[in-house]
């Protein structure tokens, strides 16, 4: 069975690996290369801390819990395969979400909900909090420690996933997909700028461009970009030890508001730089460096870690996060185009959710076994249809 995977970001690369492992002949198609866009313009989050227990978002929390565990074994396997250096730079350093005085009650309530679905979330304050993060602002009173939050170097991890797929026979084609090849109402391949590729199934993993790509393939998928800006500092002595957030993060991701939103996410990288994110704006595919978001992110970051005020900035960058109107990933077969499968809409959580998404794709395309519940993410789900209509 031959499967064309469109998009060589983390979702496409992980799906290609899962499909190749399950025995499919995989052709990975991308117009720009591996990790050319969103997967190299993000923080590499593998999080459970931002996943709530509310019924509307609980399926994603469960997907994140499963995916978090998968990343740990996957990282070991990829390291072993690569042999000559780290393949993902997985750092299971844990996250600390902190609250300023007025925010403590909502945060502890949120954490309590998370514990009820199996997320480790320990309330810490006073000396325990300072022991975790000695340079936090004295203004911060309370935090929740999430030992399972982790990070990977996203572009490296994506490359390693793609390389692993290629070692199992997957082929990379650099081309832009222009149209579907259809037969008997079913997709049987794609037309690309460098020729046609026949396939028994097509998996669309085009991230924020998935809506546009779906239209070219005769399908309808409402995926939109949301811009995230990230600040990068110069390398320095390590003073941030976990992924540290303020408690606004959950609100920003889940919100339908077009206005600029920011919540602080501060973390060190192995290179010694500190990454500071992140804003969310619905501004289309505008990647010009905008001023308002970087000012807002900077202000919040300094409030969290006052030492950052004197830290030098190296650069800022923008990346586009794909989201669906109901803010859940879209994973499964297109209701109108048999043989076309979607895997997108992960909204800033794509790195973390990639292994579980790939397992679901292998399940949908090849019938591989999974313990995950595919139902909440199906493209034909009611919450997506209602919004789209």
């Amino acid at each position: 069975m031959r499967v064309v995977v469109v998009g060589a970001g983390v979702i496409g690369a992980a799906s290609a690996l899962a499909l190749a492992r399950a025995g499919a002949e995989v052709v990975l198609v991308d117009r720009a290369g591996i990790a050319a866009e969103t997967s190299s313009r993000c923080e590499g989050n593998v999080l459970v801390s931002d996943k709530g227990a509310d019924p509307a978002v609980r399926p994603e929390a469960e997907l994140a819990i499963a995916s978090n565990a998968m990343w740990r074994s996957l990282a070991l396997e990829l390291d072993a395969e690569r042999g000559d250096g780290p393949a993902t730079e997985l750092e299971a350093k844990g996250g600390v979400v902190v609250a300023f005085p007025q925010g403590a009650a909502p945060l502890t309530a949120f954490a309590e909900g998370q514990r009820s679905i199996g997320i480790r979330a320990e309330v810490v304050d006073g000396a325990a909090l300072r022991a975790l993060e000695p340079h936090l602002s004295p203004e911060v009173e309370l935090g929740v420690h999430y030992p399972d939050d982790a990070q990977v170097q996203p572009s490296l991890a994506t490359q390693s996933l793609a390389s692993a797929a290629m070692r199992r026979g997957a082929r990379l084609v650099l081309a832009e997909v222009t149209a579907a090849r259809m037969r008997g109402g079913r997709i049987v391949g794609v037309e690309t700028t460098s020729g046609a590729i026949d396939a028994d199934a097509v998996v669309l993993c085009a991230g924020p461009w998935s809506g546009e790509a779906a239209a070219r393939l005769g399908a309808r998928l409402d995926i939109r970009p949301r811009r995230g800006m990230i600040l990068v500092t110069t390398a320095m002595r390590q003073r941030v030890f976990h992924k540290v957030y303020d408690a606004d993060y959950v609100g920003a991701v889940g919100s339908a508001d077009a206005q600029l939103q920011t919540s602080t996410v501060v973390e060190s990288t192995p290179a010694g730089t500190v990454l500071i994110g992140s804003s969310r704006e619905r501004v289309g595919f505008d990647d010009r460096p905008a001023l308002a978001p970087i000012e807002a992110i900077a202000a919040k970051a300094v409030r969290l870690f006052p030492f950052l005020a004197e830290t030098q900035l190296l650069r800022t960058y923008a990346g586009f996060r794909p989201y669906a109107p109901d803010h859940l990933p879209v994973i499964g077969e297109d209701p109108a185009v048999p043989g076309l499968f979607h895997a997108s809409g992960h909204e800033g959580a794509g790195i973390g959710l990639a292994p579980a998404t790939a397992e679901l794709i292998a399940h949908h395309v090849l019938g591989s076994a999974t313990a995950l519940d595919p139902a909440p993410f199906l493209p034909g789900r009611a919450s997506l249809a209602e919004v789209a209509a």
Binding site: A8, D30, A32, G33, I34, A35, A36, S39, S40, Q153, S155, L156, T158, Q159, A162, L172, L174, L231, T233, T234, A235, A271, I276, P289, L291, I294, E295, A298, A299, A301, V302, L308, A309, E310, T311, Q312, L313, L314, R315, T316, Y317
Partner: protein
Amino acid sequence: MSRRHVVVLGAGPAGLAAAVAALEAGARVTVLDEGERLGGQYWRHHEAITDRRLQHGWERFERSRDRIAAGIAEGRAVLLQRAAVWRVDVEPLRLHALVGKPDAPGRRRVVVRGDALVLATGAHDRALPIPGWTLPGVTTAGAAQALAKRDGVTVGTRTLVAGAGPFLLPVAQSLAIAGARVVEVLEASRLPRHAAGWTARPWELAAAAGKGLELAEYARSLLGQRTPYRTGSGVVRILGERRVEAAVVARLDRAWRPIPGTEREVACDSVALGHGFTPRLDAAIQAGCALTEAPPGSPRFVVADPDQRTSVDGVWAAGEITGIGGADAALAEGDLAGRSAAGTPHAALAAARRRRDRTDAFARRLEAHAIQDGWSSWLEDDTLVCRCESVEAAAIVRASGSASRALRLATRAGLGACQGRTCGSSVEALCGERLGLDARPLLAPMRIGELLGGSEATA
């Protein structure tokens, strides 16, 4: 008289000429420059330190400086020195600057508005990576020049000057005047004796450049020191434990590949490298100005129309960012850009355009010194190409050619403190493709705290 407000970024020859011309045309002018004193790199100086023999065309500098001072007295000019411009918006025109001691925390944040912008951001030396080039004692030719002029010091006492282009000569002269012995000057290019008018002898080269007097002086000072000037030669390895102790010099073929068997060791304690220049395009790129096409590793320049207008409405460009042409070209382009930006119509600029066009010949002759691909053959696998992140050549070569932005990013080449300003072109040459390292969201280093607390607006 023009009532436009012309903002000039950069106070080297091009920027000063633009500012003076815009004032003459009746405009209001604001000049922003990162330096403590006007003049840019070409007229880099300090009143109490600089040896006047190191300055060229100084009267022109003094006239420009005085004209701007008069403009300030008339209330038509504003000068922002020690102004690090970190962001340029063009719709509407806004320059965001931090004013104060370089890299000090808590500089004054200023936003300058205007009707027209003249970009005159100049160029910096390009130095190709060479085994041993990170040793203390190795500097760019521009650094040797700047330290001699501005600080009255030299990094060593026996200096090898190597690279390409006639600008090596004033550098050698400055080193000599500042007290170092210039052991050799090595020009990598094999200058065509007939075709382009260059010869192997620098004084004739100087005459061909139409700058006879000035460059002849350089040649004389070299002769006085009995400094050999060798073409088709280059430094291929720099030796030393904790600093420069010697350099290996070889003959280079036309492609700049070292010719086996020609290597010899030259004792020196310092090396000044200049393989041409990299235009400082950060602001122009951020403003959205169209650039010329060029192969990876070769410089691109801002596209300018006959009146120095860029592709972006309200933005002009002058000097080295439109093509490396030296100070005379920069002055002529700045003059034209300043007049045009102040609103002088095209028809009234014919004389200024002719003055500018006369400087083209020198710029064209510089093409004989362009970097040739063979340089990469003097790299060793472990030669550091990216100085900031200490990335070796072999790692970059391994990452090139694949379809992976991921792999190239993973080397961290070009992602360090200088943001690829030093190694970017070399990394792109080794990768065989443009990596977009020159699209920099922040035009200058700044501290996070300097983004807070709003800014002071100027009209």
